[in-house]
């Protein structure tokens, strides 16, 4: 089975996390996460295994970190409440000193997670889809780049077909593929300086 060989080859990359996903419910076999610096290596591995390129695209995760922080704060608050309730219960029942002493700790943690600091910076996810002509094996390679500095190396040196896909991703998201031969607008007007698929784009 192709999946095993590719899993092993990709797993050898330093930053790669390879997960097998259920094709029937998700539509792909391998879900690979790498650091932006290693996308070229990943593409080379897949090229050597005989994969063809389906598409390169992006996803804008604006607001994700804030939502995560909120969720964490909510969880912490709920935990604190539960702990307080439990403490109150033990205090009522036993009147012991130990029970009353423990609750403040989780409360501090919740505050630190909730309001203490700015949420981490949001990122663009870049998704590469690969497929194989002979064996059924779809591989999705993902990487994340920060929104303020969306730079990553091009894989058009490995797959010339990625050239246009990366240009399109540059049009839509403003992703910068270093080493790309020509990042001028492909689908958008030739003087376009906007990136319509960014979530903060207002026409």
């Amino acid at each position: 089975m192709k999946t095993n060989a590719v899993e092993k080859a990709l797993g050898a990359l330093g930053s790669a996390q390879v997960a097998v996903s259920d094709h029937a419910t998700r539509g792909f076999h391998l879900n690979v996460t790498v650091n932006p610096e290693e996308v070229v290596r990943a593409a080379e591995v897949l090229d050597a295994e005989g994969f063809f390129i389906e598409a390169v695209t992006g996803v804008d995760w604006l607001g994700e970190q804030e939502a995560l922080a909120k969720e964490a704060a909510k969880k912490a608050a709920a935990a604190q409440k539960a702990a307080e309730a439990a403490a109150a219960e033990t205090a009522e029942q036993g009147g012991g000193e130990e029970g009353a002493a423990s609750p403040p700790e989780p409360a501090d943690e919740a505050e630190a997670a909730g309001q203490g600091q700015e949420p981490a910076e949001d990122s663009f996810e870049v998704v590469y889809d690969f497929n194989h002509f002979q064996q059924l094996c779809r591989v999705t390679v993902r990487t994340r780049v920060p929104r303020s500095n969306p730079e990553l190396p091009t894989i058009s040196t490995v797959y010339p077909g990625a050239d246009w896909h990366e240009r399109e991703a540059h049009d839509f998201f403003g992703l910068i593929f270093t080493g790309h031969p020509d990042l001028s607008p492909l689908l958008l007007p030739e003087d376009a300086d906007f990136h319509p698929l960014r979530k903060d784009y207002k026409p």
């Binding site: 539509g27 063809f52 598409a55 998704v127 797959y159």
Partner: protein
């Protein structure tokens, strides 16, 4: 040509083909650097009818996006309907009744035949043969009439729904479909006599515009382009979906990789589609065409999903990222023509301009599908 390039008197000039040009069949421009009659460099310039369907997907509900899917590749709109509904059904975990799946396959294959027929007519017209277009249009008309009765539209279909179909077919559908199968079977030898055996056409296509299998892999070309280059890749067999595993059909493959091979693949595919339709009509069970308990508002669970179908021009894929609300968070449409045209620049290098037009036609490009 390199010894010419070293010569200081070597001159090239830029020739603009399109965006309004009869051979591009739509608003596509090709910037050519010519050395006399030979192409030194060809660069397709896209985007003249870019409509940003992917952004539209983020601004409307799952069902509201349905009509958009028929407006990408308007010649095989039902395949695109199929790809999109199947992606959403996979994400939302909806199962479709068997009768609906059979009807989907039958209508998609009818649509595939009508698409190939229009292509063959227009392709031969590009090369100077006018008559085949009239025959092809006549046969295609029968299919469009039948599909119009079923779906309500002639070109930009919006027939499938999440969990089934918009409505069941009427009593005359089966007879109509069988009549088309018979008509096309009778007509195909005529097409081969008129086109495939035509010596002028053969000389314009054989050995012209070779595309290797390796090139298809590097550029992600699929569909008849890949199958004309010896790659037996068809999503219907490779990654079976719908009721295709229950149907018996072949994947036509030609090794030559020239324009003639791509032409022959499509002609053979018409035959195979006829077989699929016939078997589908035989095997189609009675029953509902819509799943019970499909939620009115579709809210797939968080995550991303991929679904690919074999459209008339290659593998059409939908990557759907859901955030759990009633609109897609991100909807990537992987269109086959975009990848198929991306290899044109490399393939056309060193060709005669007239041959490049023949090769361009054999790629079967639909411009709204490239530009999305």
């Amino acid at each position: 040509m390199s010894e010419w390039a070293a010569d200081p008197s070597y001159e090239t000039f830029v020739l603009n083909m399109g965006p309004q040009h009869p051979a591009t069949h739509g608003a596509l421009r090709v910037k050519l650097r010519m050395d006399g009659e030979y192409i030194v460099e060809a660069e397709p310039v896209l985007g003249y009818i870019h409509r940003m369907h992917e952004k539209m997907g983020e601004n409307r509900t799952y069902l509201q996006f349905m009509p958009n899917t028929g407006r990408l590749d308007y010649l095989s709109a039902l395949s695109y309907n199929h790809g999109y509904v199947s992606a959403v059904e996979r994400a939302a975990g909806i199962t479709v009744p068997e009768r609906a799946e059979y009807l989907r396959v039958i209508t998609v294959e009818l649509n595939r035949i009508s698409s190939h027929l229009l292509w063959v007519g227009a392709f031969v017209l590009d090369l100077g043969g006018f008559t085949p277009l009239l025959y092809a249009m006549d046969d295609r008309e029968q299919i469009l009439d039948l599909l119009e009765r079923v779906t309500g539209s002639r070109l930009t279909y919006c027939y499938f729904r999440f969990g089934g179909l918009y409505n069941d077919v009427d009593d005359d559908f089966e007879a109509g479909a069988r009549a088309i199968v018979k008509r096309m079977r009778d007509k195909l030898p005529m097409y081969h006599n008129l086109i495939s055996k035509n010596i002028i056409l053969r000389q314009r296509l054989e050995g012209v515009g070779p595309i290797t299998g390796e090139m298809c892999r590097k550029y992600g070309a699929t569909g008849p382009v890949a199958r004309g280059s010896g790659i037996p890749y068809d999503v219907r067999r490779h990654e079976p979906y719908s009721v295709y595993p229950e149907l018996d059909f072949d994947i036509p493959v030609y090794e030559q990789g020239d324009s003639m091979a791509r032409y022959l693949v499509r002609m053979d595919e018409i035959e195979q589609s006829l077989r699929i339709i016939e078997q589908g009509l035989d095997k189609m069970p009675d029953g509902p065409v819509m799943a019970e308990k499909v939620p009115k508002i579709i809210k797939p669970p968080k995550g991303d999903y991929y679904f690919a179908v074999e459209a008339a021009r290659g593998s059409f894929g939908v990557r759907l990222v859901s955030d759990g609300t009633n609109t897609p968070y991100r909807l990537k449409l992987r269109s086959p023509c975009f990848s198929n045209v991306s290899l044109f620049g490399e393939a056309a290098r060193g060709m005669l301009l007239a041959d490049a037009v023949a090769m361009f036609g054999s790629l079967d490009l639909v411009i709204p599908d490239i530009d999305r």
